[in-house]
């Protein structure tokens, strides 16, 4: 049954429906509502998890690490500064190959300080060894969260579910919450083969010398590559159970005959889809939502780019001194095609700047014949000082 729910509340319900036994979190805007909703459910007896209100984000990640290692399904959520603070733990969790799910309520990074939405935070953690999935709307956030537990526990790698802060977390949508029985059938009880167990004691977190480190990392790399097969399969299973797919590795909309495509991650996909409807001049246009950023779905992307002459990458992050992050990976993946499309890369909506509907036509109209250097598309040069940096 569809009901109007705030994004955070919906995600909270999904976590509870997934029967997470231990939830640990430290408050940071714009993640707060998720944990507050879980707390309310616990207080009202609607959820029976251990809610640990930790004293920092690295403790939040550490608590859920301990909990998952001790044999309980565990969950945390954070954003921005908190994600960076727990950075050391994230690498540790992934390297230890522990199944965990975390919601990242994407938010810009200090400095300058900003509480508003962009994706610099999760991009900064792209090499931590986690699966990274992006949601374009709150229904996807709910479905992806539940799928994330299944993916994590199948592959024994942690999964980061990225949800645009404020834009998704604090907006109401009509959400179809899955029935508990459906979730229970989809998500078996947590069974971690390497859990800490006095009857079968093992030692985790050992010192590994140069003779073995590369092979350990290779195992990890392979597990993430295996996700390229697991993620779409899990999505299909979910679609079969609920009638809703979440976009697999990536999702396409628009005109199959289009020669121009726009690729993005997260909620601005919806803006672009609406703009395409409104501005007829933009058509034909192919829109690609890159749901899975880690592992990077190079093959699926090449297939999605088939027939395109131009692909515009709109990302909500920038690597200072280098330029695009998603852009660079897309370009590298598509270069393997016999006739790769031109890849134009832009950053938009940094620091929570609104992406209006008319950005799409302006963007398409301004595309140069050949891709220029990566730039912030919605930059206002009036606000910049003369010369200087």
């Amino acid at each position: 049954m569809r009901q109007p729910l705030e994004g955070s509340q919906a995600i909270a319900r999904a976590v509870v429906a997934a029967r997470a036994q231990v939830v640990a979190a430290y408050p940071i805007t714009p993640q707060t509502h998720i944990v507050e909703h879980i707390a309310r459910m616990v207080a009202d007896g609607a959820a029976s998890c251990e809610l640990v209100s930790v004293e920092s984000e690295f403790s939040a990640a550490s608590v859920v690490l301990g909990a998952a290692m001790a044999g309980s399904r565990a969950y945390t959520a954070t954003a921005s500064q908190g994600l960076l603070l727990m950075g050391e733990v994230l690498y540790n969790i992934a390297g230890l190959r522990v199944p965990l799910v975390m919601t990242v309520a994407n938010r810009a990074l200090s400095a300058p300080l900003s509480i508003w939405n962009d994706q610099q935070d999760s991009m900064a953690m792209r090499d931590a060894g986690w699966v990274q999935l992006y949601c374009s709307d709150n229904q996807e956030a709910v479905d992806t969260t539940i799928q994330a537990f299944r993916i994590a526990e199948t592959l024994e790698v942690p999964v980061m579910v990225c949800v645009d802060g404020f834009t998704l977390t604090h907006t109401l949508e009509a959400i179809e919450l899955p029935e508990q029985e459906v979730v229970d059938r989809f998500l078996p009880p947590y069974r971690f083969a390497r859990a800490l167990d006095p009857l079968h004691p093992k030692t985790f977190g050992t010192l590994v010398g140069p003779e073995y480190y590369a092979e350990m990392r290779e195992l990890h790399h392979r597990a993430l590559l295996a996700a390229l097969e697991v993620i779409p399969r899990v999505d299909e299973e979910w679609a079969a159970a609920t009638g809703r797919a979440s976009g697999g590795l990536l999702r396409m909309e628009g005109d199959s005959e289009a020669r121009t495509g726009v690729l993005t991650l997260g909620s601005i996909f919806g803006t672009l889809a609406d703009a395409r409807e409104v501005y007829a001049d933009c058509r034909p246009l192919r829109l690609v939502h890159l749901r899975c950023f880690r592992p990077f779905p190079a093959a699926a992307l090449r297939a999605a780019a088939a027939g395109l002459e131009r692909l515009v990458v709109l990302e909500r992050a920038i690597s200072p001194g280098a330029g695009g992050i998603v852009t660079a990976e897309v370009r590298a993946a598509l270069a393997e095609l016999d006739r790769p499309p031109q890849v134009h890369g832009f950053a938009v909506g940094l620091g929570g700047r609104d992406v209006p509907l008319d950005l799409l036509p302006r963007l398409l109209a301004s595309l140069p014949p050949r891709p220029g250097p990566f730039r912030i598309f919605d930059l206002d040069v009036q606000k910049l000082p003369e010369g200087g940096s």
């Binding site: 690295f58 690490l65 800490l196």
Partner: protein, 328 residues
């Protein structure tokens, strides 16, 4: 006497105490921390899981593919042991299991970088026994000073020289900070009194809620003495009053191991290379010796360590018994 020959492997497998830490670990000769970890596990038994901080104990017990641990054990990072242990405890509670959670960390990982996580764990009342093995410096990384390093001790980052007499600052009074959390049980212990260590572990595990144990563990390499003297040095730390053995419940002192006849601090300091500069013919050295004696005297006064009639004191607490001590 029997003529039967028992193989060493057979003997190893049939020892009367639970051994959670096996031989083959790479600790230095006479390592106080290895001994302390052994004693704690003997008292805690096999139904435990351990969260261990980065440090000497973690490094010398887990060179992959080998491990000296026989209980479930997880090392995550340096600063998060309290939190990892809290997570284990929350999970076990959610699962309704009775396995106990132990957190092991050195003084660096407890007093300094891991302090926040410890405080949070205590404040939230997780039923974890946190054991800090106090060798008074960052030993694993090469003997750098921590906030637990005693005043005037020389380390690589607080050396003695023309302008300095070792560490300027005082040893952090971690016990007072722990006391301020008002947890059910906190205590200090020393490897020189092994029966006392085990007793305190059992006592901590018998009380509900979080508990904290600070175990003084000499480091021969870092403190500058022979491995054979580790126990003697640890004993003198207690007998001089520099490392008082006390027990607190809910922040109040409920028991101490009294000193029948406190020894002068020089007895303790002179055995260690890290205090060698205090025995130079130098007015600064003499002043520091007097300072350390004053600190010891202040401890004795503050915790009421002068022996009272009856009960065990530092002279009787380790009195040997023919045929071994009573062992539960």
């Amino acid at each position: 006497m029997t003529n039967e020959t028992v193989s060493l492997d057979n003997l190893r497998a049939n020892q009367p105490r639970f051994s959670g830490l096996t031989s083959g670990h790479r600790a230095c000769l006479g390592c106080g921390q290895a001994l302390a970890a052994r004693l704690v596990l003997e008292a805690a038994g096999p139904d435990v899981m351990i969260a261990n901080a980065t440090g000497c104990l973690e490094i010398f017990t887990t060179p992959w593919p080998e491990s000296a641990w026989r209980v479930p054990w997880l090392h995550s990072l340096f600063e998060n042991t309290g939190a990892v242990a809290a997570g284990m405890e929350a999970a076990l509670k959610a699962q309704g299991k009775s396995t106990r959670v132990l957190a092991f960390g050195g003084d660096g990982g407890t007093f300094d970088i891991g302090f926040q996580a410890l405080s949070g764990m205590l404040e939230r009342g997780h039923e974890v026994l946190y054991v800090c093995f106090d060798n008074e410096a960052y030993m694993n990384t090469g003997i750098q000073r921590s906030s637990s390093t005693p005043h005037a001790a020389a380390t690589t980052t607080s050396p003695a020289g023309r302008a300095r007499m070792g560490k300027r600052h005082l040893k952090k009074d971690i016990l007072s900070i722990i006391a301020a959390h008002h947890i059910p049980y906190a205590a200090t212990a020393s490897v020189a009194y092994p029966a006392d260590v085990r007793k305190k572990v059992r006592r901590a595990l018998a009380l509900p809620g979080p508990s904290f144990l600070l175990v003084h563990s000499p480091c021969p390499l870092g403190w500058g003495h022979e491995g054979a003297l580790s126990i003697e040095v640890a004993r003198l730390a207690v007998e001089t009053g520099l490392f008082p053995l006390v027990e607190l419940e809910r922040g109040s002192v409920v028991g101490v191991l009294p000193l029948r006849e406190p020894k002068p601090v020089t007895e303790y300091l002179k055995l260690q290379g890290r205090f060698a500069h205090l025995f130079a013919d130098d007015p600064r050295a003499r002043e520091e010796l007097a300072h350390l004696q004053a600190l010891a005297d202040a401890n004795i006064e503050r915790y009421g360590l002068r022996a009272t009639a009856g009960g065990l004191d530092t002279e009787s607490a380790d009195t040997v018994r023919r045929g071994g001590g009573q062992w539960a």
